[in-house]
Symmetry: C2
Subunit: 238 residues, 2 copies
């Protein structure tokens, strides 16, 4: 008889308002339907996601372990107790894939230390979708997360990313808190070289999805409002 090791499934959530049952694979549905224990960014949003994709699944049976945002919380084993006792679990964040600009990594690391099976499920990542649709190279790329908030440091960072992109022939990817997107777009237009390519991927998997890839000189003629719209920025300097 095959003895199945308890497994921690890494579960992608939806990323856009158009995401529906049609966007999720049968495999993911089947795995999520089999699980009762979840490690999540927030219980409320995870319950909503599960209700949307599996309306008949009994929500009363579900047990959620919310990831503490306190960075000093390194007692990860407590999240993994059901696994240690032999139950499968799912790890889920509020949007897209866990770990990518989201929490979860250190818990997965602890799972590896405890020799727990880790199994990632396929789903939407705005970073990856932005990259493949940008027209920029995917042989080498860096995801830089958020840029510094301080204005001087931010300008310095943008110039550094442009330099790195040119030197290493490497696409540079970054994000911003959505209500500051317009400011960041304006700054890139001001700070980067005319020939540098800037791509934005906004509201992916939503009706308002916009993927635009232009040189800075062309961007100066563009009018676009990115305020409060989840957006990924990419630059490719030549």
């Amino acid at each position: 008889m095959e003895i199945k090791k308890p497994t921690l499934y890494i579960i992608p959530n939806f990323i856009g308002s158009n995401d529906s049952l049609e966007n999720i694979s049968k495999y993911n549905l089947r795995i999520i339907d089999e699980l009762n224990y979840f490690i999540v960014e927030s219980e409320k949003k995870s319950r909503r996601f599960i209700k949307k994709i599996l309306p008949t699944k009994n929500q009363d049976d579900l047990i959620f372990f919310q990831i503490k945002k306190n960075k000093n919380d390194i007692n990860n084993e407590k999240y993994l107790k059901p696994l240690i006792k032999g139950q499968n679990m799912g790890l889920m964040s509020d949007s897209g894939n866990p770990v990518i600009a989201d929490p979860g990594a250190s818990i997965i690391n602890t799972a590896h230390v405890l020799k727990i099976n880790v199994k990632p499920l396929v789903g939407p990542s705005s970073i990856l979708l932005a990259l493949i649709s940008s027209g920029m190279k995917g042989q080498r790329f860096t995801f830089n997360g958020y840029l510094p908030i301080n204005s001087k440091e931010r300008i310095k960072k943008l110039k550094l990313l442009e330099k790195k992109s040119k030197k290493n022939d490497e696409t540079q990817i970054f994000i911003e808190t959505p209500y500051r997107n317009n400011q960041l777009l304006d700054l890139t237009k001001k700070v980067l070289s005319q020939n540098t390519q800037l791509s934005i991927a906004s509201c992916l998997n939503s009706k308002d999805e916009k993927i635009i890839s232009l040189s800075i000189v062309e961007w100066k003629k563009e009018e676009i409002n990115l305020n409060k719209k989840p957006t990924v920025f990419l630059i490719d300097a030549k």
Copy 2:
């Protein structure tokens, strides 16, 4: 009446031998079923993929434009002719997502220049699945593609990636031609620091899927054969 702009869909292929109809979303199936024109890495593998997921789709109607591997081929507009004439197209590589360590980027770039709509579909990326299951941070990461083949340069590069990972708190990802995986694994064990974390994700979405994350000192006690098995390598230096 809504006038729909011709769209270039970026279509992920399967990555593993266990990938089946169960792993693909209805949305992707529907879009692929609507398309007759495809830009592909190889016609044969693309036909096989479409046959597998849409066995009743008439293969005689399909027209394939194979991406030339010659790097001097910059006449991308010829691939996009059906789009220019108003037909939707799909861009597909032989495994996983186009662009990521695969061709396609410069054709997508030309599509942007021609103001053609670009729409990425969600699917498996071994690089992304490896990252989210590694237990390593996803706030900052670099995909470095292939390491240099020359032995001295390769050692230098591994040490540089370790240094960069430490300095920038950034996960470093790279790949190798599968028949040289064992050599590369041996080299990492020899060259990297004892405390550096090395993760491998091998044969993702196959029966032989293996995701292992250990420090170099622990790796020295491990025996694993990665020969000819598609594998993603990740390092996180502390």
